[in-house]
């Protein structure tokens, strides 16, 4: 067991866990942040995506020791004081969430994408979200949500 300190959604947290425990499990079990989902456990589906120091990572592939000192943003840190942020609002309005299980990861991937390309082309959107699988939507409404969000922030 190691004591590991990291910043989660702006708050400093110290947890005691085996150093190889997956960041995903630390979030879900130790910190009760269950918005981060497990879909495959091998970094293929992106349901467990979180932002670590601004980079999009699969938290199922990150041993918690590697996250020591890092700044981690999960879906719980996206809405501020219960107010949806622009990406969440666009996913809602455009039908970008169906069953909702990929949605937290998809929203964080969208944040990462829009940070990198505030006005992304369709090719950049498709490539930027390719690590996040969605079985419900066929992705089109998710693309619409991203485009709508980019448009709004531009306006």
């Amino acid at each position: 067991m190691s004591a590991i300190t990291l910043t989660i959604n702006g708050e400093s947290k110290t947890i005691t866990a085996p150093p190889m425990k997956r960041l995903l499990d630390v979030l879900r079990e130790d910190l009760h942040l269950t918005g981060t989902k497990e879909g495959c456990g091998e970094g293929e589906c992106g349901s467990c995506s979180v932002l670590m120091n601004g980079e999009l990572v699969n938290s199922c592939l990150v041993p918690v020791l590697q996250a020591a000192g890092a700044n981690v943003c999960t879906i719980e840190g996206v809405a501020v004081e219960g107010r949806l942020d622009a990406v969440q609002q666009c996913f809602l309005e455009e039908g970008g969430a169906q069953c909702g299980i990929c949605t937290p990861g998809m929203i964080l991937a969208t944040h990462h994408l829009l940070d990198k390309y505030p006005q992304p082309t369709m090719a950049q959107i498709q490539e930027g979200l390719a690590g996040n699988l969605c079985r419900c939507t066929g992705y089109k409404r998710i693309f619409n949500a991203v485009e709508s969000c980019a448009k709004k922030s531009h306006a």
């Binding site: 969430a97 909702g100 949605t103 979200l129 969605c134 079985r135 992705y139 409404r141």
Partner: protein, 768 residues
């Protein structure tokens, strides 16, 4: 954003549970922890078929810390009941497929379970098994189910198909007889949330199962038998469900029984959530199929008579195979008029895990065959794929192959015209014909025309006898009580829209209860594209009844529903309105003769695929897709389009990406790493077009659409690949290696002559 009352149906309000989903607050089963909860795991067979000789628990694991459940612990019958009682809850003396559950373990610490599962030692006497339809039906095959490995057969005859002499004469004198064989593979539902449940048990309350599922009352039914308890002591609650697609129709009865058995024995709530590998290897998939067509056609392209042999691989136990087979049988004839048609259908047993429900439910298999076969017939007769279909389409007033009179308007001609127009089919086809001979990336256009029956097949809806209730909350808000579940498709939202519009109130004011079998009536399973149409109609009727009750109490809901509701509650204490399914008088189905009104109504569609095949890598891709359908009234344009787009994406995967690799019945690629579904980078622009012709059978004229989009993509894509490459592929999934093998091994150097007179072994000409 908020639609005004009175204009709710046909607009796109925000999905009811959407906010919880985008903030990560929606609680799926794996997000729920109960006090004192333990975790469960499943020990599974490592062989396909054989006797269990011994089970032992070697030292090295502190077994006394574990609760171990075997078949001997089952208080009721060792059986998961679907249509037959052949499916064991836990194997005891014999296993019939790899990954079959044999015993269950529970422990307070989840982390110790995998090692314990691996440590259990089971000795088998292995017996030979059968792994395909061909092996199962072969003379001398081991009898693995019943005497002949046949779960179910259907014989469907239209016209004089029952008269062998008549059929023989038609085939003898026809200008052309076209034969073909078509095969489809298994497909994994691949919901992103794996199967998972929490089981609880108490002496006084009985069994409670909460979890990810489509059909809470199916699970109640299964628990009654396993626990030998009355229905009121078997409570089932659906939690937020992260995708289902049929994969959580029948399977939750298995995992639900398992968790509850462990809970009963260990005295704690027990959660079982499969990981991806276990879910893929151990749970149901789409039935693999083989369809053989033999068709008599006239010189002018009229279908004269047909013989269709349709076979499904059902896996080791019957589960839902007979009903999957039934839908496949009825859709095997496509949207065409057949003067004489015989369909001989059978579901065969194999030593694979049981195949089960998956969006489309037999129809994608048989429609793939007919829509590939129609292109072949066109080629043989010398007509275009368009013209051959136009000469045979079903029309208003016509009769389907089951003899169903098509009283509602059917406009396949118009749908085809529009689909080809919006997709630029003719111009593109011409252009590709011009460019392909010198191109290294060959492009093609193909389409499929099809229909999908909405609601349960045959007499199913009558038997379900579904009930919907709406109650008033103390605040005077209507709350819909149904067992119909939300798993992404929009159940919560559309039912609330229907209720709001009928009551004349705002969408936001309508509530819908969590499906809990102790609280909601049985509105039937959430399957078969029946929720919008059948359950929606019941919600509409129950809402009307609620209004009528208020009016007859002297209140005026049109002046303000909430005031009227609160007035009623003050006087009478409570109000609950209800509506039960009533079979329309003109719908009749004869199970024995397999004739009649197979479905209340059909949705009709034409899908057009544009593909590219890279002749260096043989990699096929879909570059543009148009999905045009007639679906009655569209209740929620965004949700409806989302259903179509998602279905098309799954259909693209079914056609060219998703392959289950079987090794002696075990799925060898049970990972997302090597079972490939489409990513955002693989998806072409998907254009969805709706034609609306409201039907009397559905809420505000809606028809079911959930399954429809699964049917068309695969045949449209393979038809387009034939256009691109000149080679007719007849089996899906079609992977680059399949195209490579076929195109480099054909003697003619990879091209197939398109002249019907020399198209070779694929058809025969008789009496021309």
């Amino acid at each position: 954003m908020t639609p005004a009352p009175g204009q709710i149906v046909g607009t796109s309000p925000i999905r009811k549970e959407g906010r919880a989903k985008v903030v990560g607050a929606a609680r799926y089963v794996d997000d729920i922890a109960l006090p004192g909860m333990w975790y469960g795991a499943t020990v599974r067979s490592t062989i396909a078929r054989g006797r269990i000789l011994s089970i032992s628990f070697p030292p090295g694991v502190p077994w006394d810390e574990f609760t171990i459940v075997t078949a001997a612990d089952i208080p009721g019958e060792n059986c998961i009941v679907h249509l037959a009682k052949d499916h064991l809850c836990l194997a005891d003396t014999f296993v019939n497929h790899p990954d079959e559950p044999i015993l269950l373990l529970a422990h307070p610490n989840k982390a110790v379970l995998p090692a314990a599962v691996a440590a259990v030692k089971i000795i088998y006497e292995e017996l030979s098994g059968v792994f395909t339809i061909d092996e199962s039906e072969a003379p001398g095959a081991p009898a693995i189910w019943g005497e002949d490995n046949v779960f179910k057969t259907y014989l469907m005859n239209a016209g004089d198909a029952g008269d062998a002499a008549v059929m023989e004469e038609i085939f003898r004198t026809a200008d052309f007889v076209v034969e073909g064989e078509y095969r489809t593979g298994a497909q994994e539902q691949l919901y992103i949330e794996n199967n998972g449940v929490i089981g609880e048990y108490s002496e006084s309350d009985g069994v409670t199962v909460s979890g990810s599922m489509q059909c809470p009352f199916y699970v109640v039914h299964a628990l009654e038998l396993v626990f030998n308890l009355p229905a009121e002591k078997c409570r089932v609650i659906q939690t937020e469900t992260g995708g289902a697609f049929g994969g959580k129709e029948d399977f939750p009865s298995v995992i639900g029984s398992h968790a509850a058995l462990l809970a009963m024995k260990c005295g704690h709530p027990v959660k079982i959530c499969y990981d991806r590998g276990e879910d893929m290897a151990g749970t149901t998939k789409r039935h693999p199929s083989r369809t053989r067509h033999r068709t008599a056609v006239s010189k002018d392209g009229k279908l004269l008579a047909g013989e269709i042999d349709f076979a499904l691989d059902g896996g080791a136990y019957m589960t839902l195979s007979p009903v999957v087979l039934s839908r496949g049988t009825i859709h095997a004839s496509g949207p065409y008029h057949w003067p004489h048609l015989t369909v001989r259908a059978k579901a065969m047993a194999t030593n694979l895990p049981p195949h089960g429900a998956f969006r489309g439910f037999g129809a994608p298999q048989s429609l793939f065959a007919i829509e590939r076969h129609m292109d072949k017939i066109a080629k043989v007769v010398g007509l275009t794929p368009e013209e051959i279909r136009r000469r045979n389409f079903l029309e208003t007033g016509g009769h389907t192959a089951t003899g169903q009179h098509l009283a509602d308007k059917v406009d396949m001609q118009g749908l085809l015209t529009r689909a080809l127009e919006v997709s630029g089919y003719h111009e593109k086809r011409e252009r590709f014909d011009r460019e392909n001979p010198t191109a290294t990336i060959k492009r093609g256009m193909g389409f499929a025309a099809f229909m999908h029956g909405a609601g349960f097949t045959g007499s199913g809806e009558r038997r379900l006898n579904s009930l919907v209730e709406i109650e008033l909350t103390a605040e005077g808000q209507p709350r819909i009580l149904v067992s119909s579940t939300e798993f992404g498709q929009g159940t919560n939202t559309i039912l609330c829209q229907v209720c709001a519009q009928t009551l004349g109130i705002a969408y936001e004011d309508v509530l819908i209860a969590q499906p809990d079998t102790h609280r909601v009536p049985n509105s039937g399973p959430t399957v078969a594209s029946r929720t919008a149409m059948i359950v929606g109609k019941l919600v509409e009727r129950a809402s009307q009844q609620m209004c009528a009750t208020l009016v007859s109490a002297g209140l005026t809901p049109e002046d303000g529903f909430r005031a009227a509701a609160i007035g009623y509650l003050a006087e009478h204490g409570a109000l609950k309105a209800s509506a039960r399914y009533e079979s329309p008088g003109d719908i009749f189905w004869d199970d024995d003769k397999y004739r009649g009104e197979a479905y209340p109504t059909y949705a009709w569609a034409v899908y057009v695929a544009e593909v590219a095949v890279d002749m260096t890598t043989y990699f096929p891709s879909v570059t543009e897709f148009h999905a045009l359908q007639e679906v009655g009234k569209v209740l929620h344009p965004i949700l409806a389009a989302g259903q179509i787009e998602g279905g098309v994406a799954q259909g693209i995967g079914y056609a060219i990406y998703e392959k289950c690799v079987w090794q002696k019945g075990h799925m060898a690629n049970s990972q997302m790493t090597n079972y490939i579904m489409a990513t955002s980078a693989d998806i072409p622009p998907i254009h969805v077009h709706f034609e609306e012709m409201p039907t009397i059978h559905g809420a505000f004229g809606a028809k079911g659409i959930g399954e429809l989009p699964m049917d068309g993509p695969a045949p449209a894509i393979l038809n387009a690949i034939e256009h691109a490459t000149g080679v007719s592929f007849t089996e899906i999934p079609l992977l680059p290696e399949d195209i490579f093998e076929r195109m480099t091994q054909t003697p003619a150097g990879g091209t197939e002559d398109l002249e019907p007179a020399i198209a070779g072994p694929y058809f025969s000409e008789v009496g021309a």
